[in-house]
Amino acid sequence: MTASVPSVPAGTVRNSSFAPEMPLLQVAWDNHSMNMFKECPRKYYLMIICGYVPRGTSVHLAFGILYHEALERYDRLRSRGFSHHDAVVSTVWQTLKDTWNKTLNRPLDWGDKNKNRYTLVRTIVWYLEQFKDDPLELCVLADGSPMVELSFRFQTTYTTALGGNFLLCGHIDKIGTMGGLHWVVDRKTSKNSIDGDLFFAQFSPHNQMSTYDYAGQVVWNMQTSGIIVDAAQIMVNFSHFRRGFTQRTNSQREDWYKNLEGYFYLINKYAHDGYYPMNEASCGNYGGCPFRGVCGKPPEDREVWLASAFHKRIWDPLVIRGDI
């Protein structure tokens, strides 16, 4: 390629979901990247392309990863014939180890009253008790392995500026059957209320759920009915669970897929132009964008603010989560 191809800032670590020939062009898209792009192209540029994230550990991310790993472990143990009790004990033990700081010889502490080591273990135990006799049966692949923590990627029909096809990718928690129907299962944790109709209403339309549902059909050739959302509300004194269903018809699937076209057009355009516009209408969403303080400064001052308040990490959706 010529030297005129816009590139990433110096020092940006290589990300395998981007095209080497066109460094700003992300060819493999997961829900996190797509949501960020839809919300604000400038936020997407700073967080996904440049890799800036606020300093400090995200308790929500750390808690979510440990919660998902624990429930995956339980499912795998159960599929290997372990009893509920033994699988719970093994899962809890591993979580206690995973949340132990060996260097400091003390438990991990995220400084959050809702999401901490105790509420994590409590939530795992309470969830597994609530769904001990789950009517949802775990599906198994032809090789006998359970369909848990499934990394997927599939090619779309939308072409990149380089001539290849965009990929959609992600990680599905689990696929199971209930009532003779196949369901993709996704687990959510939140400090917010999960009661009432509004909580589950948010999952249709919903890019992540539609992507997972579509992947179930395309990648595993299963006639999935939609997604089961197992929601956990994490409070200081209790954990509370609700199971919701969000279904997709074929016409909804086609509509969602068609909707991607316009976004992939913009993705090609911005990568080609090397410019990602701000969407000021989203600066105040969710309590305020973390980059609001940066974008509010004169352009010549922004690098200094980024360097002082953020650190860098790679968000690469093509990295496959392995067995635990």
Partner: protein
Amino acid sequence: MINSPLSTVDPASLDLAWSKDPNLMVVADVELVVDKLQRDRLTFLANPEAVKKQRSKKTSAADANVNSIEDLGL
């Protein structure tokens, strides 16, 4: 007592379990932790008024911010 592989968790208080190196625990220690949490759940569920009150707590605007962070495709 802490860090002794033969020690067990006091079922009356889980404090020790949270400050004890889990790599040095034995199965019985972990079973006590699990049992205590399972009994806590039953105690909580046995008090429906408390459950209702706790669930109806409003969330602040700052809490709403977690939606964007929690929604990481996990």
